[in-house]
C-alpha cells in the first residue's frame, strides 16, 4: 500500500456543553444536522473527497457511541487498507490517563498514533464546523510554499473580526502576525481552525509545548505564536465558501435554516458528496392532507400534517393536523396529531403527544432532549 502522505486528525474533544440537551447521550461530532447528516460527516466527507484515507478522531466523551456510529468507516469510503477512521479517546497509559488539556495536548497525547502512520504532513481539523473544502488544494499550496504550517483563513465582516483569531499576512499570504481576538484588527482574515503542519515541525513544537508548564496547550494561543516567534514559515490559505461554527444551539438551528432558503448559501447537491451512515429507509410518504413548504425532509418519514420552514430527519412521524414550523426534528421522533412545534429542536426518539405544543422563539430555541415525551397538558416538562 502507498504510504500515507497526509494524516488527518479531527479535534472533536469538547463536551459540547453549549449544545445542552443534544449532547446528553452522544458526543458533539455525532449531533445530527441538515436532515440526514451528523456534524462529523462534513470533515470526514471532505477528507474522503480530498483523497485523505486515514483519519484520527480525538474525542473525550462517549467514544464508544461515536465508534458505533462510524463503524468501519465504510459509509465515508474510509475502510481502506492502511487507512480508516480511528477513534482516539484519552486512554490509560503506563503513567496513568490524562484528559486532553487543550487542542495541542490532544494531538501531543496521540503522537504515537502519528508516528505509527508516519505521514509527511498532518492536517488538523475541528469537529464542529459545517463546510465543504478540498484539503488537497490546501496541501498542494502548503507544499508549493514549502511552508512549515499552513492555516485555513476566512474573510469575516470587519465588525466581527474582534471575535476571531486574526492573521496579518504579507501580500504573498505569508503570516506575519497572529492576534487572538484583537480589539482593533488590522486584517479580517480569521483562522478557521484548519492547520496543515509538516509532521517533523509539528512533533518538535508539540514536544516542547508539552514540557512548558505555563502553556495552555492550544494551537491558536501557544503553538502558532511560538512558531511565528521562531521565524518559521507559516502561510495562509484562503477559503471563500460557506463555513459555519455550529457549537451552540442557536448557530446549529441557524445552520439548519440556512439549508432551506430559496437559494441556500450552501449547496449539498453538487459533485462534492457528503457521505453519511445510511439508515436503509424507504422514500418518505406524504399523506393526502399533508402540506409541506420550504422544508427539507429525509427518508423513512411519514408526513400527514403540515411542515413549514423546517428540517425533518429520517424516520419521523408527523400526525394529521400537526403543525411543525421553524423547527428541526431529529430522527425517529413522533409528532402526534394536532401537536404544534415552533422554533424548536426536538431530539431523537422523542414523542410530542397529540395536541401538545412545543414553542420557542427566535433567539430562544426550545430543545427537547433525546427520548423525552412531551405531554399535551404539561408544557413545563420541556427542558430548555
Amino acid at each position: 500500500m502507498r504510504k500515507t502522505e497526509c494524516l488527518a486528525m479531527i479535534l472533536a474533544g469538547g463536551q459540547g456543553s453549549r449544545l445542552g440537551a443534544l449532547t446528553k447521550k452522544i458526543a458533539k461530532p455525532a449531533v445530527p444536522f441538515g436532515g440526514k447528516y451528523r456534524i462529523i460527516d462534513f470533515p470526514l466527507s471532505n477528507c474522503a473527497n480530498s483523497g485523505i484515507g486515514k483519519v484520527g478522531v480525538l474525542t473525550q466523551y462517549k467514544p464508544l457511541e461515536l465508534h458505533n456510529y462510524l463503524g468501519t468507516g465504510s459509509a465515508w469510503d474510509l475502510d481502506r487498507k492502511g487507512g480508516g477512521v480511528f477513534i482516539l479517546p484519552p486512554y490509560a497509559r503506563e503513567k496513568g490517563a490524562d484528559w486532553y488539556r487543550g487542542t495541542a495536548d490532544a494531538i501531543y497525547q496521540n503522537l504515537n498514533f502519528i508516528d505509527l502512520t508516519d505521514p509527511e504532513y498532518v492536517l488538523i481539523l475541528s469537529g464542529d464546523h459545517i463546510y465543504t473544502m478540498d484539503y488537497s488544494w490546501m496541501l498542494e499550496s502548503h507544499k508549493m510554499n514549502k511552508a512549515d504550517a499552513t492555516i485555513g483563513v476566512f474573510e469575516v465582516p470587519w465588525e466581527e473580526a474582534p471575535r476571531f483569531g486574526i492573521m496579518n499576512t504579507d501580500e504573498t499570504g505569508r503570516i506575519e502576525e497572529f492576534e487572538e481576538k484583537p480589539p482593533k484588527p488590522r486584517s479580517n482574515l480569521a483562522s478557521m481552525g484548519i492547520y496543515i503542519f509538516t509532521k517533523s515541525v509539528l512533533k518538535k513544537y508539540l514536544e516542547d509545548d508539552a514540557k512548558n508548564e505555563t502553556s495552555s496547550h492550544d494551537f491558536g494561543k501557544d503553538i502558532i505564536p511560538k512558531m511565528l516567534a521562531d521565524g518559521l514559515h507559516l502561510h495562509s490559505y484562503a477559503f471563500d465558501g460557506y463555513w459555519k461554527d455550529v457549537g451552540t444551539i442557536e448557530s446549529l438551528w441557524q445552520a439548519n435554516m440556512d439549508l432551506i432558503q430559496e437559494e441556500p448559501p450552501f449547496e449539498l447537491h453538487g459533485d462534492w458528496r457528503i457521505y453519511s451512515s445510511n439508515p436503509s429507509m424507504p422514500p418518505q410518504y406524504v399523506g393526502p392532507e399533508a402540506k409541506v413548504h420550504k422544508s427539507m425532509i429525509s427518508e423513512g418519514s411519514m408526513i400527514l400534517g403540515e411542515v413549514t420552514n423546517s428540517v425533518v430527519f429520517s424516520g419521523v412521524r408527523i400526525g394529521k393536523g400537526a403543525k411543525v414550523m421553524n423547527s428541526v426534528i431529529l430522527p425517529d421522533t413522533v409528532i402526534g396529531e394536532n401537536a404544534v412545534v415552533d422554533y424548536s429542536i426536538i431530539a431523537q426518539n422523542c414523542e410530542v403527544e397529540a395536541g401538545a405544543s412545543v414553542t420557542g422563539e427566535l433567539g430562544a430555541i426550545k430543545v427537547i432532549a433525546e427520548g423525552e415525551t412531551v405531554q399535551a397538558d404539561a408544557k413545563d416538562k420541556q427542558v430548555g
Partner: protein, 368 residues
Amino acid sequence: MKTVMGLINLNEDNSLIRNLADRRAVESIPFAGRYRLIDFALSSMVNSGILNVGIMLPDEERSVLDHLRSGKDWDLARRHDGLYYLPSAKVEKEARQGDLKNFYFNLDFIEHSAQKYVLLTSGSFIYNMDFNTVLRFHQNTGADITMVYHTSQVEGTGKNVVLETAENGLVEDISEKPAIYDGSKTCMAIYLMEKNVFVDLVRSAYEHGGQDFLLDGIIRKADEYTMYACEHDGYVAHVDSEQAYYKANMDILHPDIWEELFMGQHSVYTKVLDGVPVQYKENADVKNSLIANGCIIQGEVENSILFRGVKVGKGVKIRNSIIMQKCDVRDGALIENVICDKNVLITKDKWLKGAPNYPLIVAKNMVI
C-alpha cells in the same frame, strides 16, 4: 441460517414488461422510489442471516452488475462466502432455452459451497420475509422440497403457478394456470431443499432434456419428491407485466403496506447514493406520494412516486405517475398516468397523459 446458501434466479420472462426491460434485466427494474426488484429477495436473504448468495446472471447482465457491484451495500462483500456472480450458460454453446442450463453449468459452485441447504428464489417478487420460518417448517415436515406460496386476494391473469395442498402443507398438485382466483395458493418461486436434492434434481432434469427448472424440475418430478408448501401471509407482488408493475408501485402508497415492507424489523437494502433530503420549495404541493431523497420540488405531485434526484419545476402537475431517477420535469409540464424511465427530460409546458389502466411509458434518456 449459516447452513443455507441463497440462489437468486434472474430469468424472469420479459415479454409482458418489455418497455421497462429494454436493455436491462426484469430484476433490475427500478421500484418504489429507490429500489430495484432484486433488492427484495436479496435483502430478505441477508436479513435472514444467509451469508453466501449466488446470483444467476441473465444474458442482460450489465444492469445487474452495475446495481449490485461488490455487494457491499448488502453487506455481502466478504472474504469468504458473500456475493457470487454465476454467469449464464451462453458461452457454453448450448442451444437449449430456459433457466435449467444455467443451474446445470453452475453446479460446481453449488456443490463446493459449505452450506447444507439451498434456498432458490426469483428476483422479481416483492416481499419482506424471514426465511428462518421456512427453514423451521422444512425441518419439521421432513420435506424433500419446501415451497412458499401466498394466497391471492384478487383475480388476475398472467402465468401463475398454483398449488393444491393438504392441511399440513403437503403439496397435492402443482400446475401453471393462465388465471388465478381469489383464494388461489400462488407459488412465490421460493424453494428450499438440501443441496444434494437440488443437485440431483437439476442434473437429472437437465440430462433428460429439460429446459425449465419449474416445469421440468419441480412439476414433472412432483411424484418423485415429498414437497410441502408453507404460506407467507405478508404483502406479495409479482412484477411480471407493466400493469403488475404499475399496480405494485401504487400499492406502496398505502401506508400500511409501506410500513410492512420497509419499516419493520428488517430493512430493505439497496445501492446507497448519498442523496440530499428532499427539498420542498415555496410552492410545493405534495399529496399521497412517495418521494425519495435527492428530489427538489417546486410544483404539485399527487398519487405518484418520485425516485431519487427528480426535479419538479414550478407550476408542474404530476398525477398517478411513476417518475424514475434523475428525471427533470420543467416548469409548467403536466404529467398524468405516466411511467418515466430514468433520466427523462420533460421540457417546459409539455403535457403527457396515459390512461389509468394503460400508463404511458417514456423510455430512458428521452427528451420530450
